[in-house]
Symmetry: none
Subunit: 188 residues, 4 copies
DNA sequence: GATGAATGAGAATTCATTCAT
DNA sequence: GATGAATGAATTCTCATTCAT
């Protein structure tokens, strides 16, 4: 059974999505993964480690989704548009992932250094895009992470609000928001 | 000691800030507040209620801070600037408050309807400012909440990142961010 | 307020009847009696004492009800019939009282010596009736308490079963049971 | 140790006998059974379930004891005598069982329907004996449960009184009581 | 490697009792 | 006498983790 680790991870993911960050027990994860409780501890030294791994897994998935079809050869706006739409679609398709991330980052599990490393590892092309635009004088003279934040990351909270039902979006609003993001980072 | 309720609330706040939303026990809250465990239950029917009250308290404080010195008679940009700076300063001064809110809103405690009512109650002037600008044709034709979100609320995640040490800010960056926010909502 | 003690007692009775022997708190008793929690302790040294007093109160009421219209001048069977019917009616009218008594007597509160004293105090005429019949050679040569038990006290469990819905009674059955009781104690 | 469930059950039984139906904690049960608190919850989902199981277990044991050596081929009186003596001996040998049952039936745990099912399951032969006698015209024309009650079940309260020390019995009295029970149910 | 029964510390909550006012 | 806020030990139940098989 080469996929036991995988099964455990995805069980944890699914359960957290359903019941919230702290609403799951190792027993539940084990049951859903069709393994014994003790088995989890062969793959993850403790619950914290398991949660960290889920986090990294999701981050990797997110990066993959967001970078899909982004071609560094294309013009900046086209790339930006693709990035923005990818982000939006990914967040809407996986609201749980978002909910998990927000809680994880606000929790004591969150570790600045590890986060930076993962960002580096998975989101390098995104940072490079913004850095490149900054150097070319297209974007504001802000650190790439800040540009990325202004343009993409704030969608996280926004989509969370939508998921919770506070705000409703439609295609017209999408375009406006995309435009607003673009204008936020453009140098004047 | 007429302020026992107050002491309990602020103990809960402080502990959540230190140990995270789910990392606190009623015992700890009681000990820190210098009351007996049972005493908490005279003031809050259960843990959930206590957490909800902390949330509302914080929201009220935040609204007060953010609306300070905002004068509806002044020009739009002046008002916006004041709102933005107030928000920024409040968030920086009370990073715990922020951390709490993000966790609360991602938790199962969060209830859309109650949230809407509280928003209405405490942040009405903010919404009015954005609505007014929209009607005048100054801001994009987006719902006031979305404008508010684009301009102010996304600072939440940003400051959280700063607090966690991922990004460093300075006065120059402030001005850039303020400007970026302004440009994000302006009608072109 | 001369009746505060009385109010506390009857609140306790009523609550126990509604929620069972151990389902009541002193707070609830106090609230229902319209007194402060502490006030109960001016009249009853502790919960146990309160429960004992309720027990005695009920026993006295039961004795009064059972002895109503029993005339020592009348023939034995007439007296017996009256006793039996009184008992039956009392138990049916106050199933709570019964429920309370059964639980009390099975609980560690129950004290043999006190019980004997109370029996003596309140049920003397009943015992005398059976003793008298025994001496006359009408009833079996058994201790009066046993005769009383065979004739009357076993109705307690029976009525409890009825109250719980296990058995249904009607007038014809009454007469049969009355007759059965009479035959159980008669000397042959 | 394959009998952990058994140990828990009998610890609960013993403690209830000692301290009363409501005077036991899961801790105490666990300690007496030499298991950890949590272990109880592997076998019984909660305290209520544990108490219900003790009840059923005892009922089954009682039925077994009471039906011992009762032969449906023998004459009615012989069967009755055996049933009555079995009941008496069982009750005297297991006064705790009795005490438990009375408290259980008076408690909110008691459920009419479940009780009927258990009665059916375990005491069917007893009911059949009485029903059969009724049909033959030997016993009073009363429902079998009532005949059973008059003949046997009222011994419960009686033995309880003896156990508590209110009444003393001897062999002569046994015979008298047995005879009284027989006469109570006989058709005249 | 895998299992899952067992563990027991720790959680939320209740409630008999006290005592300053 | 009366009050009722405060107490804190005790209760039921959960769950991360271990370890004999």
């Amino acid at each position: 059974m080469p996929d036991k680790r995988e099964r455990i991870l995805s069980s944890a993911e699914a359960l957290i999505a359903q019941r919230g960050f702290h609403g799951i027990s190792m027993q539940q994860v084990a049951t859903r993964a069709n393994v014994a409780t003790g088995t989890i501890y062969r793959y993850f030294s403790d619950k914290e480690t398991l949660l960290r791994c889920v986090h990294e897994e999701r981050l990797r998935d997110a990066a993959t989704a967001i970078l899909q079809n982004v071609d560094a050869e294309e013009p900046s706006y086209a790339q930006f548009r693709q990035l923005w739409l990818n982000t939006m679609h990914y967040l809407q398709a996986s609201p749980d992932s978002l909910c998990y991330r927000v809680q994880y980052e606000a929790s004591p599990l969150f570790n600045r250094e590890e986060e930076r490393l993962m960002d580096e590892r998975y989101f390098k092309p995104v940072h490079e895009f913004f850095e490149c635009g900054r150097v070319k004088g297209l974007f504001r003279d802000l650190p790439a992470e800040l540009l990325g934040f202004l343009a993409l990351e704030n969608l996280m909270l926004l989509i969370q609000k939508c998921t919770k039902g506070c705000i409703e979006l439609n295609n017209d609003i999408y375009e406006q928001l995309l435009d607003a993001s673009w204008n936020a980072i453009l140098k004047r």
